[in-house]
Symmetry: D3
Subunit: 331 residues, 6 copies
């Protein structure tokens, strides 16, 4: 029987310029949909996972289109609601060579951020769920969203669901009067696995350590329920060329994946979400080191895919892990 | 010496589906910029008019792109400011046959609506201006915008500038606590020429008359400074086929333009703005009936142009008025 | 509670030239998916119907893409199977003016045609179904397909499900050794409502009558279980301009819908399927004349939509029936 | 055995804006190739004619691309030469509704205009040719071109080849010091069939007659070798809607074809060349009235085809003549 | 006088996704035509070779378009026939980075595979031919195709034509009841030059040798008429980055070309065919090592060209061999 | 207050094939505008410079479009004139891998080359200008252009304006009867800073020195008013991969910038113009070494931008100089 995962979070329309065009040159935008948590759900839906995403859309054609997109790529849309507010947007200019990529967010006042989620039957939504995944973007959007997430986390805890959280600190969010240290620590206490880098530790967990392993040790002292801490080490040689390695703190040591060279990047957006999806899949099916390799391999493949979501099969991820069919022509 | 016109109003990015696609089918959007008042400025800038547009943009690449668009099509951007807030957007699905066109607005919280315009030097901005043009969209956006507009209108009155206003009642706006009858009558009192249909009369001027001529008479009683009232009579046989005639009440009678058949419409958005631009141009250069014919001819040509703005030359408008070169192949 | 409809039939990838290009000019093809029966399911899925489509796809990326398309537009894909064979294709060149549209079919040896459907649990698939819809294309593809359809029809009869069948005689099919008169009469005996024109009567029911009403009378004599016979009267003035009227024989008389003029056709493919979907919806919800008007209105709107499927809402169909919002700009 | 036709004339790259865009809106141009005479050759090559085109291209990739285009659409390129000079260009903005289409020519200094064609073996090139076709554009380009054409015409006369000429007066050409009356009359004396309208008669044959039939009579007096004079009567209701009728003076009377209504024009460029090709084909295979109907039917179909050239089959032309399959869906 | 080459084989329409899109993301496909043998003919037609291709197409617009494509790129189409069956297709998803490229073939039941080629006048078709080229795909398609090829090979042998064969073993073909070892050895006996890798040796020549040189030696023992055996050594670092070297066994030793680094691949399909075309050209004009360098240089350039065929000039191939103008800007 | 720069030179429409297509594959061309000097003005207009460009366009839509392009990207168009002649064009095929890029110029007889510029008020145009920039393309076009440029240079000298000149020797120009050595030395005598490579020295300054430093020394002897000589050292590994370093001779020594690796080039056209713009900006604001680093950084970024012009901000150039944000994702 397939494992079942529930993700929660806002979904935005992504409007990206054509090819290597700058914003100033754009006469049209390509449209896909994405969001840090939905990207995880989409990834998982390509594999043998029943992936549900909980979110809220405005009740007009753009909201419907977002739902249809999720349905198309295999996400279960049973837990999607309609409510007042906008569909969040983000504009993307893909970088090239030494020129960085740029994102302009236009996501405030979204239907998800406005949603008064109190009273939702989280017990029912979490029934049978093997993993519940959230990110630090949700509590950064609005008090409503932070409250709803806390309620969901409590329910998950009660049900014994594995909880993963991507800390994902974004300075430009958190504009509703609370700061991350007001909110995040409580949420993290209900979480088993976190994605966190040094700036996440500092801003959301008040852990200031220059060394990653030290930071992990401290985090496990402060948040003793944590089982795993993970991050990706990305070396940005240029917008077209990155290197990537996954790190996984298992409470005792930092496991490291194979280090991948990525010299012809197609689209790096969602690379971290692909990693997280891979790790969730891995934790539900594999031992630690294999899970980590699966996660990193999935993330590498994401960089070859246009759009936020990692539209690759499990077989493709496994092949890359094993070094099979790399860059071949499959007939 | 060229005449000088100043328009004021918000400018949105327009995201329209390709060809006849529905929102639900869109994988990319075409991008242009538009706004009821800026469209008037763009039209006028194609002719021998120095057209200035006053507006406010967010200080990022999308705002810059909007400015560059206006500059490209010939509008003077000296009176464009930057301020906090979004770039307003609207999504357009072009209808066809019996299927209507659809617009989804996403314009709240724009930099223009947020702009605290108090203390601007309107006297300087209006110096040498032959016509100042506003629409009922501006005061419907925010108290700030309504206040700024009133200040501008008072300055225009003091300087003896001809003022035109397109009443343009939109039920979905007016969400800041005031209604049109709270705000519009005072603004109209500073205006010489208005575009108004029966619903505009009712909602913004409290004039409920089933007959257009009677409504005009009543309007001139209630707003005795008005010199002209104008409207376009549009017969929508289908989204692809309309008929159009301009009406101009000159205080005594309704002049009517030639009635045009438009059976192969390319893009009807901005047809009214093109009419208003034509009428402003006409009033600054021609007798009443000629002005009206110029306005209607300009509006008809707009329906053959992709985008909000009427990118046609004065010669093309005059040719159509005279029935010359209609639909020919000019080598 | 939503009504439930099950359709059965092959689904093809449609490869159409861009805009008005001829096949000889095509450097790329647009891709959608369609099939006479799936088009009905897609239409119904836009309204308040749980629409299931039964078909068979090859187990590779093209088959998966077809499934994802159906899922995106709202069709339930629970009854889709994988099997050996191709994904059927058809190439479309859109006509214009006096130049006809052209279709080149490339559908032989499809996974659906090859499918040995014996032993499927039709009782389960038809559980709760309010209407089961088939067309004459399915039995024309292969003996397998004809046998499977007969089995399904018998099950539907047993369960008392309303059955509709679009006779849809295609001379170029029927290449597996049987002719329509060998197969169709038995299938029609399990059917309550048929779409049939004079050539369908002649080729599939052996009824040769020059007058449509006489043909209906005769059909009801030969197939006394029939409740309704319907057809669309299409007047093809040009590829860009058709006129359309729906006819519905109710056992006593021919009801006729409003006759629609369609002078700016976008895409006529699937117009008949949109009609049939409208009629099924109408029969499940409205009296006869209203059902007929709903069907014709739906079909008219289809002609404004790119692709095989009628992506319009129920409200849009009803608006056109009432003459509301026709060709307007909805903000 | 197929008939053989030789045409002569310059071929230009056509750069047209996308869809309904104006020049001022173009971010890309579509590329095809065309020229009044080559368009005739391309039309004929679609039917059972061996169509040769004589022209001259610059010896670089753009010239090669033009040759490849001609080869692709079936024209024999044995008589194409390379020489110094440019590839002529023209820019096209397609009109819509009342807005006219516009062409900007950029064709001076072309390799064809520069070509010193003296000493070519016209006898060999004209061997077995059933019809030689030229237009008034060639002698308008340069003295070289006029001289070469005269040489070719003399050879054609000697060989008894049927000669057709499209007078095609263009005021903007004729810039090399000679006027049409200096050059055209001599060329016309070697010609059997001419396409000419009233302005052609006046400017190239010095015949000023307001009535077409009178003009034909006078032309036959002045140029007694003429066998046929033909023209198309085009009624330009708009850029999207024309009406078309072919007229053929056979020495005694004006035959008139069926008058066609064309309300959804795709591309009118080359409509006259398609007519001429149809007439040449008709004269080589049919009686006069049939030839005229074939020519007009071919020209009507051209208006539905993107590009300069009439990519339709003989069967399609005949079908339209007979009113068969008009605007149908052919499967 | 130009050398003359005849190739034989099926030609497919290639439908490839846009840019880096996956099949699951494709809304349109780019269209070109290709086939292992036709690709060789197209390459040779860019140089000073009269390149003929023998194949069979269905007699409809898609077949005609394929012929027009070949004609456009310079292939002589005198030996192309029409017959019953499909136009073969293949769908291509271009890989990127570590993600492999994918091809889905849809080529069964093609007009070429169905063609009963017995009785063709091969003597006439091979008259004056300097090289006849076939591949192992043809005999893998059908008994008809294998028989026709054998007949052609016998005629070539009789006429003393140089014969080259690309063994090109494809496991997914060979579905008509025969295996490669039933058919290929006899065909190879009529062949002078073969392209073969280790799997080809094993599957088609029953030679199992881990070392390439040993395999060549054995092949020359088993097939003593062979003059050359060649292969390309491709190192697939990723889908975007390959390295390529040509190897040529001349009966005594393996000559090796320069080894090329190719880190920004545009389109690798047809790289082997470009190599073979280069080798044929080289064998007809150059000594062995030069021929090999020409072949490898041609193949490298192919990787920068979109589509199956190597649209480069002889000068470009020679320049790369000499290291001239590599990656420059030529004005 | 912003610095002010005036550039002079012809502006061409650039027609480039899509993506990696060859000329022979192009069905459409992308359109931008460029010219060696206008590219400098566009670059500078992105920074805090008032950039004016002096040129001449034909008085039709294509000329207007060129003006609108310059206006859009921020160049002041006050000194643009209309005159008889063409709009110059160039066709661009972007190379890839080892395949070079190709340009076909079609620029003769342009309005700029034809312009009789005598009597222009250069004193007024140069008022307040901090730097006047010209290239060796202008005097290579026509005697008119050379004369006009000399007049401008004399005026600049009188006003004490810093003058920069890009020698930019192009063998294919200089077709009006004069050679570069007839014209260039006099122009260089009015110039403070030149861009020159070894071939420029040889062809335009009669300095034949194999060593760059020696050549600079000699140039400063022959043209003692020169203050700086500069060049870029470009290593073309392939069309996709270059390396770039700026060199600046300051009268005493050659300063060298950081050497940049550019392995994923998007568009190299205008790289030199971006360098020159950077150097002008640098010389007006920074010390020598900083100016040189700014110039090289600007040029590197240009290689990531589609089109001739370097649409990057000053901040982006400075970031790359400092190694900040290189290839990152900026949110």
């Amino acid at each position: 029987m397939n494992k079942k995962v529930l993700t929660i979070g806002d979904v935005m329309m992504r409007l990206s310029t054509q090819g290597n065009e700058r914003f100033l040159q754009a006469n049209s935008y390509n449209v896909v949909f994405g969001g840090a948590e939905a990207n995880v759900a989409v990834s998982l839906a390509q594999w043998d996972i029943d992936a549900y995403h909980m979110t809220v859309f405005p009740d007009h054609d753009l909201g419907m289109t977002a739902i249809r997109y999720l349905r198309q790529v295999g996400v279960k849309t049973d837990h999607i609601f309609f409510g007042p507010g906008r569909l969040g947007l983000y504009f993307l200019e893909n970088g090239a060579m030494q020129r960085p990529s740029k994102i302009i967010y236009d996501r405030f006042d979204s239907a998800f951020a406005n949603f008064e989620g109190k009273g939702l039957d989280w017990i029912k939504m979490l029934e049978g769920v093997d993993c519940f995944h959230w990110t630090g973007i949700t509590p950064a959007l609005s008090q409503n969203a932070a409250d709803m997430l806390l309620e969901a986390l409590k329910a998950a805890k009660n049900l014994g669901v594995l909880v993963s959280g991507d800390i994902n600190y974004r300075r430009n969010l958190w504009q509703y009067g609370k700061g991350p240290l007001d909110i995040m620590p409580e949420l993290i206490r209900y979480t088993d696995v976190i994605v966190a880098g040094l700036t996440d530790f500092e801003n959301c967990m008040d852990i200031i350590e220059p060394d990653y392993e030290d930071a992990c040790r401290q985090a496990m002292k402060d948040f003793p329920q944590l089982k795993y801490i993970t991050t990706t080490e990305r070396n940005s040689i240029s917008a077209s060329h990155n290197q990537l390695q996954g790190w996984l703190w298992n409470g005792k040591e930092i496991l490291k994946s194979k280090n991948y060279d990525m010299p012809h990047i197609v689209d790096r957006i969602g690379g971290g979400d692909a990693y997280m999806a891979g790790l969730i899949y891995g934790m539900l099916h594999f031992p630690d080191q294999t899970a980590l390799e699966f996660a990193t391999s999935a993330s590498v493949l994401k960089h070859s895919i246009v759009g936020d979501a990692n539209l690759v099969t499990k077989e493709e991820v496994l092949d890359l892990m094993k070094g099979e069919n790399v860059g071949r022509l499959l007939r």
